[in-house]
């Protein structure tokens, strides 16, 4: 049947994805590990459902990386890119250089010739854009210091693929075994026959075309297509754009990923940015998944079984070297507080570019079959191990580090006779604290975020770095003679524990608490903490009030409508609390929690009719009466008002 084979393959890949990825996510392992496992399972090692074509699939799926960089480019304003130029070239450059030198040195020790050693060093110095960026996006780490540094390094590595591709044939000539001829170089690019200057000119022209086209022309084309109202044409347009750029880049010998990244950055200011992103995202996700699966499927277990310890030893050596270099660079570039570890763990694997570079080297007879196979296996294994390392960092190392750090650095809270203790001085506590301070109350403030403490101290706030869940901290803060404790911390479960402790040992102290949502508020009610403020409710209601004004309410009408709503909400809350108390043991799944809350709230609301407060100004009944009075006036009866 037509293309039966293709659909059977698709069936296997899709089924493997649908089964393993959700399981891996549920277990907290992240999607990358899920895809890799899926690949191993369907690959030759276990079921053998996919075979040698996995390699071809992988090359096809590498396009996922291209799409990913396009999407990341879309989210990156040019100004932001300019800001991180130092870490791209400084941190990224040093990483590639130092790692390559150390790895090449090690290769020399294993009796590789200098030219091969250099190639090995350069190829293995790169890290996997696909794995790292997927992980960063999934965990929302792109914005933190470690994530941004990792991104800079990856960007530099992408740039450096181009010169590495150029160097490999040169290194191959040093072998002396083959005559290096133009035909070898022709494999890199089609235009190498042209002179160097012309090549450079073409490269500049193409990049200029992308920038100018993206800035000034793309907008109009997108609008024309959007106006047709046919979404699939827009999808086709988006794919055309990315594939076109990728091919053009390939032709001029630049990395396609880099080219589309550039295009993404240029389009970041475009009004169709969001549309482009949502259009490309599913393709990106599927292709990346396919890529990870094919990596898993292509792990050469036969080769591995032959000499498992040697290979494992190599992989460990490789990753250790990369880790140490990264860690030291991270420290040097002032990554602190566990970010140095995260940064090093993130980038300790090898890159998908290595697949291309290794086979390219083999074509150039730089590596023999055995070396190439071994290196491919090392790269794949390092990619498979790297998600495990990240889990180790997240689950074991990071908590340990933060605990260790906290133990040594907590401030000693001076005893004072302040009657008010504020626990948690972030966005929420700050407002509470300022209001009290503005009214000349002295407060003892405790916060567990060192960065926060540092900044606020600069502004003259007297606050202590400490963890209120530890009894000695709250004792030192003077709970004994405190009148009020304000639990404004964002660690919601901890806040409940603190409330328990205070209620048990100092029942006379009044507790005022910030609640995450109604269930959290109920937990406080249950502990007899009755002054509870839901952290977003009032602000949200007030924004709603502003919406009413925009809709034509007078400001006072809007104010009253909002007041009514808030008072009514109080009643709903009490009702829900009674319900909740009766059925307290009911298991509420964390994920369903919000929707459940919403439906219960709306249900409770149905049972009330918001009573018409402004009835007083509803003049209808007066008008009716006035009319009937007018009728009776004729009978000589006159009444007031």
């Amino acid at each position: 049947m037509y293309n039966q084979d293709f659909f059977f393959q698709a069936l296997i890949y899709l089924a493997a994805t649908v089964v393993t990825v959700p399981v891996a996510k549920k277990l907290g392992l992240g999607s990358v590990l899920g895809y890799l496992t899926a690949g191993i399972v369907i690959g030759p090692a276990v079921f053998g459902l996919v075979g040698s074509e996995a390699g071809k699939v992988m090359h096809f799926a590498e396009f996922g990386v291209v799409l990913m960089l396009f999407v990341i480019g879309l989210e990156l304003q040019p100004s932001l890119l300019w800001k991180i130029r130092r870490s791209i070239f400084g941190l990224g450059g040093l990483q590639v250089l130092i790692t390559a030198i150390v790895l090449a040195g090690l290769a020399l020790l294993f009796n590789f010739k200098i030219n091969r050693a250099i190639a090995i060093g350069l190829i293995l110095a790169l890290s996997s854009t696909a794995i790292v960026l997927q992980t960063l996006t999934e965990k929302g780490l792109l914005q933190n210091a470690a994530g941004r540094s990792a991104f800079s390094v990856l960007l530099f590595q992408d740039i450096s693929v181009v010169p590495i591709l150029a160097i490999i044939p040169l290194l191959a000539t040093m072998n002396g075994k083959i005559d290096f001829s133009d035909s070898e170089l022709n494999r890199i690019t089609d235009m190498s026959a042209l002179s160097g200057w012309l090549q450079l000119l073409i490269i500049i022209a193409v990049i200029a075309f992308i920038i100018i086209g993206g800035r000034f022309i793309a907008r109009h084309i997108f609008r024309l297509i959007a106006e047709t109202g046919m979404h699939e044409v827009f999808t086709a347009m988006a794919l055309l754009l990315v594939i076109g750029i990728a091919l053009a880049m390939d032709k001029i010998g630049l990395s396609p990923a880099l080219g589309t990244f550039l295009a993404g950055v240029v389009l970041a200011d475009n009004e169709y940015r969001h549309e482009l992103e949502t259009t490309i995202n599913p393709f990106k996700g599927l292709l990346l998944g396919l890529f990870f699966i094919s990596v898993g499927a292509s792990i050469n277990f036969a080769l591995f079984i032959k000499d498992p310890f040697l290979i494992l030893g190599f992989v460990i050596l490789l990753m250790t070297v990369k880790f140490i270099v990264l860690f030291m660079l991270g420290r040097f570039f002032r990554l602190r507080k566990g970010y140095d570890y995260l940064f090093a763990f993130l980038l300790a694997q090898s890159s998908e570019f290595a697949f291309v570079l290794i086979s390219f080297s083999k074509q150039n007879l730089l590596f023999d079959e055995h070396t190439a196979g071994l290196m491919l296996l090392m790269v794949t294994l390092s990619m498979a191990i790297s998600p495990l390392l990240l889990i180790f960092n997240e689950k074991a190392l990071a908590p340990f580090l933060s605990r260790k750090q906290n133990k040594t650095e907590y401030d000693y809270v001076e005893s004072s006779d302040n009657q008010i203790i504020i626990a948690g001085f972030g966005r929420f506590g700050l407002v509470v604290g300022r209001l009290l301070l503005a009214n000349n109350y002295k407060v003892t403030i405790i916060d567990s975020n060192p960065a926060n403490v540092e900044i606020l101290r600069k502004f003259g706030f007297k606050l202590y770095y400490g963890d209120v869940t530890r009894p000695q901290v709250i004792e030192q803060a003077g709970i004994k003679h405190a009148k009020l404790v304000i639990l404004s911390m964002a660690e919601y479960d901890e806040a409940l524990k603190v409330a328990d402790y205070i209620k048990k040992n100092y029942p006379h102290v009044k507790i005022l608490a910030r609640a995450k949502d109604i269930y959290h508020a109920f937990e406080f009610f249950k502990r007899n903490v009755n002054i509870v403020q839901r952290e977003v409710f009032d602000s949200a209601a007030e924004l709603g009030e502003k919406a009413l004004v925009q809709l034509g309410f007078t400001r006072y009408e809007a104010y009253r409508a909002t007041r009514t709503f808030k008072h009514h909400e109080k009643q709903v809350l009490l009702d829900l609390y009674t319900l909740w108390k009766e059925d307290e043991n009911r298991f509420i799944q964390e994920t369903r929690r919000f929707s459940e809350q919403l439906s219960e709230m709306l249900q409770a609301e149905k049972d009330y009719v918001i009573h018409e407060t402004d009835y007083a100004w509803n003049v209808n009944s007066i008008m009716e009466e006035a009319e009937s009075e007018n009728d009776s006036k004729s009978k000589g009866k006159n009444r007031k008002k």
Binding site: H567, A616, E625
Partner: protein, 174 residues
Amino acid sequence: MTDSVKNLNGITLNNLYEKYPDFYIDIIQEQQLLIEHDIIVLQHPFYWYSAPAILKEWFDLVLQHGFAYGEKGRSLEGKQVLSVISTGGNKEVYSKEGRNHYTINEFLVPFRQSANLCRMDYLPPYVIFGSHTITPAEIEVHSAKYKKMLTALRDNQWESSQLESVEYMNELTD
């Protein structure tokens, strides 16, 4: 002064500013309170010759057409209303010759007529003059009189003719 009457039997203290700091008056509840009581005392300082804003808001919202006045608004019929006010100026200031040109009773005409519209009896007001210079001892005296007046009204000790005969309730408690 309110302290002296807040725990009396049959008397409910309804502090509007304490109950409705945001002026959001619960109309249903306030109407219920009115229905449950026979005598309504409006106790307030005499700001700008009238009541503080929240009491005006209370009038605006609680005394609805159809509840307090109008053809069908007879919920308050026959109840008594009494203003208890404190003023900065003394009694002489509140006279034709004085700085304020009018008497307290003249200023209170809107209250009296509002009561009329609701078919209620408007009693003579109890006035504490010269509150700016009042001494704690004098407050004590007023508190005792206030308490005496409220219990007397509660227990129906004064004839309606007696009540009609005085300009200020102060005269009955002296």
